[in-house]
Symmetry: C2
Subunit: 426 residues, 2 copies
């Protein structure tokens, strides 16, 4: 059912492609046989190599093409919204059905277009700092009920501020990277002081969205909420792999540490805020009213459908285990960024922020196995006859996301990782 959208792009793609001309996400990749990272955009099933275009003098930005010759998007991210918009419009013009420049230049076309299946995607940015929030009310409530009971589910601060914590930037990896089962200290019963060390037994995923910071701020100078959007370059899908047994024993009083720092997977294409603007959604009721520094004057939630599937090593196909939506967040990404910097904390281009696990109110829309299997008490059944409480070696977790427009989709591609046995030699 390949539909030629001749009216839009001279590249043909199906109507439900993640990467129509309306998208124009940005990413970094290796061409076949090359070890030099190039920047590019995705169009249908192709990568358009912006490095090649920049090298050949195709004007992508009036301020010069230098940022597209870098190995990561950081310099481009630093330029700000006007530059992002200009580059996106120029690329859309190049790809537009009416523009002969690239369409009719076979040599340049063959140099600049590569099949997505032939490239290796890299991290889009050098991530200076990574922060993870905890912004879905249903997720915080579910976890709270499991650990503290129904009456004390939400901590007293939760409705007043977007709770967040600093994560590990070094172990953020692009989709497709295998994740070795972490080892760590666990204590099955906190009352018995006899912890043990070994491979995690309760390995989980967390369905999140991530967003990249564009221009940063100076230390001491917060980003006001009304300006937050201008500091956000774009979004990715984010899987915050979590070792529940390690987390339970280690996390008091300073928060998760080894339970999270063995890997965080992101989808490789960063979808710009301009592409996502049409999918702005109303803010959910925020009661009590947030303090002024967190009060929004415009829409800042997003209607983005997210699906998570698991493919066991025995299965031929992934099995969907959750369908959720970014609208299930209580706090918006603008609120997260404003809060993060309220102390004066400085952000830099390429910093990554995660929303926290996105759980809806339906049991089928929970964002982690911890919630989906209710701490392992309700195992998930697979078409193969297998069941899962938590992840087994060989399981692949595949997250996809898209915003549905009128006749087109803004997709994020995949955020995938396969669990492999622990590599540690203990």
């Amino acid at each position: 059912y390949e539909i030629q959208l001749a009216r839009r792009s001279w590249i043909s793609y199906p109507a439900d492609t993640s990467f129509p001309i309306e998208n124009i996400p940005f990413g970094a990749f290796l061409r076949p046989g090359s070890s030099v990272p190039h920047l590019g955009t995705a169009i249908g099933s192709f990568v358009l190599d912006l490095h090649v275009l920049a090298e050949r003098g195709v004007a992508l930005l009036s301020t010069g093409n230098q940022v597209f010759l870098q190995p990561t998007l950081n310099d481009f991210m630093a330029l700000g919204r006007a530059a992002w918009r200009e580059a996106r419009h120029n690329i859309q013009a190049l790809l537009s059905a009416e523009t002969p420049f690239l369409r009719d230049n076979a040599a340049l076309r063959s140099a600049a277009l590569v099949a997505q299946s032939d490239v290796k995607m890299l991290l889009p940015a050098k991530i200076g700092d990574y922060t993870d929030f905890y912004a879905s009310r249903q997720h915080a409530t579910n976890v709270g009920i499991m650990f503290r009971g129904k009456d004390n589910a939400l901590m007293p601060n939760w409705l007043h501020l977007p709770v967040g914590y600093h994560g590990r930037a070094s172990s953020v990896v692009p989709s497709g990277t295998n994740i070795a089962r972490p080892s760590g200290q666990t204590n099955a019963d906190d009352n018995v002081a006899a912890p043990t060390f070994g491979p995690c037994k309760l390995l989980d995923f967390e369905i999140e969205m991530g967003f990249f910071v564009g221009p940063g701020n100076e230390l001491g100078h917060p980003i006001p909420i009304g300006q937050a959007r201008d500091h956000i370059f774009g979004m990715v899908i984010l899987n915050d792999w979590s070792a529940r047994d390690i987390q339970k024993w280690e996390y008091v009083p300073l928060g998760p540490f080894l339970a999270k720092n063995f890997g965080t997977t992101i989808s490789a294409w960063v979808v710009t805020m301009d592409a996502l603007e049409p999918f702005l959604a109303d803010t959910p009721p925020q009661e009590p009213q947030p303090l002024p520094y967190l009060q929004e004057t415009r829409k800042s939630h997003f209607d983005i459908a997210i699906e998570c599937a698991i493919k066991t090593s025995d299965a031929n196909a992934p099995h969907v285990v959750s369908r959720t939506n970014m609208r299930n967040l209580h706090w918006s990404i603008d609120q997260m960024l404003a809060h993060h910097t309220a102390s004066g904390c400085n952000m830099s281009p390429g910093d990554l922020l995660g929303t926290g696990t996105i759980s809806g109110t339906e049991e089928t829309s929970f964002g982690s196995l911890l919630e989906l299997t209710w701490r392992g008490s309700k195992p998930i059944s697979f078409p193969t006859g297998e069941t899962r409480k938590f992840l087994q070696d060989g399981d692949s977790v595949i997250m996809t996301a898209f915003a549905q427009g009128d006749g087109y989709r803004i997709g994020f591609g995949e955020c995938t990782g396969k669990i492999i046995p622990t590599l540690s030699k203990y």
Copy 2:
């Protein structure tokens, strides 16, 4: 009482200098009027400019001088212990009284030596990730008593693992950088759901030591404790500025966030592990016995005296408020690094790890105002007649540290920061 140690270096310095020929710390700095970072070492009251020596072909490393032409120490840190040792020995030889090469070359000497008072020190490395531990038993006990009572002071996990959390790398600043009072959300009484937003009222310091990672490890491959030392480049003094009122309200359940991310100050000269080797000290009793992955086979604690003084804006001189020692740590830096990577977490050259607040058993050796004033209940009196429960605008906090050798000191210089009024425009 300037003593010419002619037998050691042709540069004269007092016997209690922080930077004798036995030290040879590494750092980055700007020469007067320059904006190009150079790497150097400190000798007496001078900086020896390694960039200048490298450029002029003075062989500092058999593998080449390229690492000394970089703006930060990261590439040098990545080389590993044999290279660090070789460079240190070559520099010691250059500075030795018996070596005429630099001593008798007035032109080179004047190009390569700069007064420390004339340079601006920078961060020694680009810090990819920063982690803070919580490894002093007295500190954890003090905080535990204040917040949970004497019987539940230490959390059940504390004696089993070095508790740590990921910090904010972007806001680590070199000694001498002003720290703007952070703003944030606070709630005087957790039971009343009426938090407010404004400048921190309970601003504190934390006396810590920091250590820089040298060669890193691949994701999934832990650093065994027996190899941990080879991955540690050297140490600095670290002040983990802390906003106690913000911390109290925000930190459940995911740990400190805005309370810590507005600034962390480190001393600018990184003292190498080779220089500190003579000051290895016995491990304190670790009961219960740590699990095998944390068991040490050699000394890995350090006898380093640390002093903290406050200079109020009214005072002519700093007033010492705490004298502690790195021996007061329960967990060693080797144990911290082994634990950090036990999950498979990957470290990179230039990553910074903090030990956590170093409190001794004496009240005068506590490592934070929270403890020294026992939550503000015992204000500190100053010679000016002023008192302090927590830090006021205009206060400078000055930390110094040294290891005392036989006739020489291995010093760290200063870790200083002055509190300035909040810059945020709320």
